[in-house]
């Protein structure tokens, strides 16, 4: 029984691997803080693993006066961004907190936006949150369901053969007439033929199902792999992968659009200790080739994460690893920056401060030492001078109060987060301007950020438990400085 079951069903229930997610790596959930008219909202969107599928939405309001929230899914750009379906109402939590939850269908892969309409005593407001949606995995059938369906399949098959036999044995006889040898033999023959036919049909159905599963697997989003080579004079050349099927879907492969005035944000992290960190901005040489003059870099193996945003609004993080010799390099220029932290082997996961290289320190205002995965929260960092006084002279770094990178130490999770949240600024620009106009690379800069003060904060939630390193970049006295923190995240 078990063997037969697996023969028919197991090939269909293959668990397809999932390791890749667009815009960040292994961190599919969207966290965003913004204003819907007079109401400040913290939005968490958890996209589905299969597309079409249901995304879960949670919205927390800064005040409890908010009466109603409605959500609508639209494409981020193109004709699908023009007409909105009927909005869904979010359910307000029964307790006193201003928390709302709900869900909505995302029917296609690509770049979406969830439009949130708020209503309260201070009037109405609207906020759009970009959401990249990709099919990430197919599902294994639960054992009890597989066994149940297999039993039903056997029952239906045997039943069909028996009914065919009955129809030929007795179905054409007048009432009261017993079947003769001819009818019995004919029925047996046709029952055998039906059994063969059923077996052949099920065999063909198995092939059909396999074919559908394989087609679905081909459409699963795979983490794009960069090709990185070191040219003479310490120049790093990066070649983007062929988008293949995804180009046809008009999701990737189309021209890139700038995010903070840069087509690519490159993050270089030294392995295995993650103690050196660079945030660089390579130049586009050809449509799929980027190049960067490296700064001074010690020899070693490096992990590369490269953030880009396609014209469709769909963001991607491309990855690769590279072995580099010592590179004397060129001084950092423009928006390029670097950071240094403790080697991972010496990490202190209870420490809440990080020394900054120009003096002073960055303090993580943690509410608690224990952090849980899949829980949205604010990560607040205060900058102090050498005397321990909070500073209020933070400058915009690429238009923002700060940039944060959340990196799981096994590198299965990478997220580049801004004070407004996880969506790239170029996506946010499309929600405001639509597809017909040029996106503003600095869209909503400062909108999600209070006036630059002493604290820079980021909304985020760790997607899975484990050990993480957080790189927080701010700009002060004309220089970008990086605080490095370590944390252990529980279930």
């Amino acid at each position: 029984m078990r063997k037969t079951c697996s023969m028919w069903l197991f090939p269909f229930f293959l668990l397809l691997f999932t390791s890749s997610l667009s815009a960040h790596v292994g961190s599919p959930d969207v966290f965003y803080e913004g204003a819907a008219g007079p109401y400040r909202l913290m939005v968490t969107i958890r996209p589905p693993l299969v597309i079409p599928g249901v995304a879960e939405i949670e919205v927390v309001s800064a005040s409890s006066e908010l009466r109603e929230l409605q959500i609508t899914p639209l494409h981020l750009s193109g004709p699908g961004a023009q007409f909105a379906p009927t909005p869904d109402r979010l359910q307000k939590s029964s307790d006193a907190s201003a928390s709302f939850t709900g869900s909505l269908w995302l029917m296609e892969q690509g770049a979406w936006q969830v439009r949130i309409q708020a209503e309260g005593p201070r009037g109405q407001g609207e906020l759009s949150v970009p959401v990249p949606a990709v099919a990430q995995q197919s599902l294994r059938m639960q054992k009890f369901l597989a066994v149940g369906l297999f039993i039903l399949m056997l029952f239906l098959s045997v039943g069909a053969v028996s009914v065919v036999g009955a129809s030929l044995r007795e179905g054409q006889l007048e009432p009261g007439v017993a079947p003769g040898t001819f009818q019995i033999r004919r029925a047996r023959l046709m029952m055998a033929a039906t059994a063969v036919l059923l077996f052949a049909s099920l065999f063909l159905a198995r092939g059909w199902w396999n074919s559908i599963a394989q087609n679905y697997e081909r459409r699963l989003y795979k983490l794009p792999q960069l090709s990185a080579t070191l040219e003479p004079q310490g120049r790093l050349t990066l070649r983007l992968p062929d988008p293949g099927l995804w180009k046809g879907l008009q999701i990737t492969g189309n021209p890139l659009i700038p995010d903070h005035n840069h087509l690519m944000h490159l993050f270089l992290v030294r392995l295995p200790e993650l103690e050196r960190f660079w945030h660089l901005h390579p130049e586009q040489m050809e449509s799929a080739v980027f190049s960067q003059d490296l700064p001074a870099i010690p020899a070693g193996r490096y992990q590369i994460f490269a953030d880009v945003v396609h014209r469709s609004g769909f963001p991607e993080t491309m990855v690769t690893e590279i072995d580099l010799p010592y590179v004397p390099g060129k001084p950092l220029s423009g928006d390029d920056s670097a950071g240094v932290g403790r080697p991972l082997s010496q990490a202190d996961r209870t420490a809440n401060s990080s020394e900054l290289f120009c003096g002073g320190r960055m303090v993580w205002e943690r509410d608690s030492l224990s952090l849980k995965s899949r829980h949205a929260s604010w990560f607040r960092f205060r900058v102090e001078d050498q005397a321990g006084r909070p500073v209020d002279d933070l400058e915009p770094y690429m238009g923002m109060a700060g940039h944060a990178v959340f990196l799981k130490t096994d590198r299965s999770v990478f997220a580049h987060v801004h004070p407004s949240g996880t969506p790239p600024m170029a996506m946010l620009a499309l929600t405001e301007r639509g597809a017909t106009s040029q996106p503003d690379p600095h869209a909503r800069h400062g909108k999600g950020v209070p006036a630059f003060g002493t604290v820079v904060s980021f909304p985020y939630g760790f997607p899975q438990p484990g050990e993480y390193r957080i790189f927080v970049q701010i700009k002060r006295v004309g220089r970008v400085q990086t605080g490095v923190f370590d944390v252990e995240v529980g279930l």
Binding site: V50, G80, P85, L139, E170, G171
Partner: protein, 394 residues
């Protein structure tokens, strides 16, 4: 002649005592079957409209309830009939039935019960399918084929239940049963139309593929049911019911307001979007009914060649220019409904242009040759099926 099955079973159930030839009431289990197949077809087309207009659904939408009501009603009524006969002590009732796994019942009730179980099996399968591969946007998927196979089995079972009575009954009762038989046959054609609708959309009606699919699916039922009914104009009646049903959904569904609940929305929709204007199967049906009495004595294969050819030629002759007409502004009104576009009809698609499936004339004509072969083969199967059905007694 006496309707022994109906009488025996009805006696057992305590509802009738008179011979069927005198009985003017159709047995309750046949009505249950007729209601079940009607429910599935209404639910099926309603569900298609729901997906074209509103998009999002759950298991408990009215359309889904109507579909699964078919399985439930057919399954329960058949099971009751089978258990009543099997557990009853009336020997005569058992002698009027077939025997499967020790249970006695009319042949049609076993088929309907099988169909009902298949339909109900498809529900958790379809639910899992959505979870694994996403909400389906295609009609033809393995769980849907199981569902449609289940409905077909219920329909076949009801046909056989009616036949079991009809083949042993005369007079008014036989005439009523014959009308119900043709009605269920029309429901079967509507179900097959639903299965092949992705291939027979108006934009595809200048392709050989559409005619190949129609020729394969439709004649077997049309010919089979019409011949087994042994009634003049039977094919015409079946296709008239088919046409009436599809015109009904075309004219009635848009009267109900509806708005998309899924994105992306490419077309503004304010009411339920029905399926297209029906295929003009009525024309080949009339031709077949005119021919049938003249060639009744011909060999089966000769009849199949003639009927299959006539079916395809008359269908193409009428459908080709009508498809041309459906692309014109004159067809964009409530009567023809060519202006109804589902909410997710992409602006780059062209609703009033034909899709060229075959790239060369040679591909087209070879496709049409295959369509002719399909029509002949399907007709021959229909003839064989009708011969078998005419001999059904239990």
């Amino acid at each position: 002649m006496v309707d022994t099955t109906a009488v025996s079973i009805d006696r057992l159930l305590g509802t009738k005592t008179r011979p069927a030839a005198e009985v003017r009431v159709v047995p309750w289990y046949i009505w249950c079957g007729v209601i079940a197949v009607s429910s599935s077809i209404i639910g099926g087309y309603w569900d298609i409209s729901w997906h074209r207009s509103i998009g999002r659904d759950t298991f408990w939408t009215p359309a889904h309830v109507a579909i699964y009501l078919c399985g439930l009603l057919a399954g329960i009524s058949s099971a009751y009939l089978i258990l009543s006969v099997s557990l009853g002590k009336r020997h005569a009732a058992k002698e009027s039935c077939v025997k499967v796994w020790g249970f006695h019942g009319p042949l049609g009730s076993f088929m309907s019960a099988w169909g009902g179980i298949a339909m109900l099996t498809s529900a958790p399968f379809d639910n899992w399918w959505h979870s694994a591969y996403g909400l389906d946007v295609e009609i033809v998927s393995p769980p849907h084929v199981l569902l449609i196979g289940g409905i077909l089995a219920v329909q076949l079972g009801v046909l056989i239940l009616i036949l079991g009575c009809m083949n042993r009954t005369e007079g008014v009762s036989a005439s009523r049963l014959s009308a119900l038989f043709l009605y269920v046959g029309a429901m079967m054609v509507l179900l097959l139309q639903l299965l092949i609708m992705e291939y027979t959309w108006r934009g595809l009606l200048h392709s050989a593929r559409a005619y190949r699919v129609i020729s394969l699916a439709i004649p077997v039922v049309l010919i089979g049911v019409a011949r087994a009914a042994k009634r003049r104009w039977a094919t015409t009646i079946v296709t008239a019911i088919y046409t009436f049903f599809l015109l009904g959904q075309l004219w009635i569904l848009p009267l109900f307001p509806a708005e998309p609940k899924l994105g992306p929305v490419y077309q503004k929709v304010t009411h339920l979007i029905p399926w297209d204007f029906p295929l003009l199967l009525l024309v080949p049906a009339v031709a077949l009914d005119l021919l049938a009495p003249r060639v009744a004595s011909w060999a089966a294969w000769t009849q199949a060649i003639l009927f299959g050819s006539v079916f395809l030629i008359t269908l193409v002759a009428v459908e080709w220019p009508v498809a041309d007409f459906m692309m014109t502004p004159a067809a964009r009104n409530w009567f023809f409904g060519a202006h109804y576009l589902e909410y997710n009809f992409h602006p780059s698609w062209k609703p009033y242009e034909f899709f060229r499936i075959e790239r060369t004339p040679s591909d087209f004509w070879s496709g049409m040759a295959v369509a002719l072969a399909c029509a002949i083969l399907s007709t021959r199967l229909g003839l064989a099926w009708s011969e078998w059905m005419q001999r059904v007694r239990r």
